[in-house]
């Protein structure tokens, strides 16, 4: 029943973009936490992480815990975190758990890239 999480990465300028597809649940511990040594920052001297939630269908508290660990580690490493493609309900959940204090949500990728270029 649980839909696997597919993770693909790409780079645009100083942004390291992760395209997420499927469910962000306990499996995100394997798929996302092991993707990078997050407390050492981002690869290729990237300064910002961009998470694309456009193709994410379900997020639960176990997945949220993984996202928190990643953005918290990046914040300590001096990196910024952004996200787009999140529906109103999950935006609300992210606000409730304090995730939006560390991860800025935009409507689309273009707006985030513009913002990163201005940093």
């Amino acid at each position: 029943m649980e839909q696997n999480l597919l993770v693909t990465t790409r780079q645009q300028g100083k942004a390291w973009i992760i395209d997420l597809e499927g469910d962000i649940t306990k499996t995100a511990e394997t798929e996302l936490l092991t993707l990078q040594t997050w407390d050492q920052g981002l690869p290729n001297n990237c300064s910002s992480l961009v998470l694309n939630f456009t193709a994410v269908t379900y997020i639960n508290s176990l997945g949220i815990a993984v996202l928190i660990r990643i953005v918290r580690a990046l914040y300590k490493a001096g990196c910024h975190s952004f996200a787009f493609g999140i529906n109103q309900h999950y935006k609300k959940l992210f606000r409730m758990v304090g995730l939006t204090d560390y991860m800025t949500i935009y409507e689309n990728e273009y707006s985030i890239i513009e913002r990163i270029e201005g940093l």
Binding site: M1, E2, Y58, N60, S61, M96
Partner: protein, 162 residues
Amino acid sequence: MNRESIYSQQWSMTANYGNEKAVMSLVVATLEKQLQRVQWLAHVDDVRTVLAEACINGIEYGDGTPIKVSLHIHPHQFELEVINGVNSRQELSQQQASVDQLWQQENPRGWGLLLIRQLCDQMEYGYCQEGFYIRMRFLIKGEKYGAKFACDDETAGQSMDY
């Protein structure tokens, strides 16, 4: 079955990750059928999340015991109850932690109960004879539920296993 409710249904699920999604769909489908004329749809995503989180709590802490999910609809509210069969005391202190306290943890957990507390109109949890329960209530507005009494539904009051 809750005596005061005018519609009740129960489901049972095995304690495996992902099963909460199936139960979530079944419960929401039942609510959609039963509350056709009542304004509750604004809460549908909240209902899905609180139910999923209560089931995940059962998967996490229930020692593999089956998880029982009940829906009780009353004239002005509906109630979801999720019970896992474990009788040993769970770490309730962790589950009552604030956002700031959770963020301080190396591996922050306990977000489920925090979300449930904020998304439903009323919640309570504790131990009953059957194990650990989480009870969540949503108020329903608009036309009073009951005009469409669900006696014609042959599944009313019965238990379904998943």
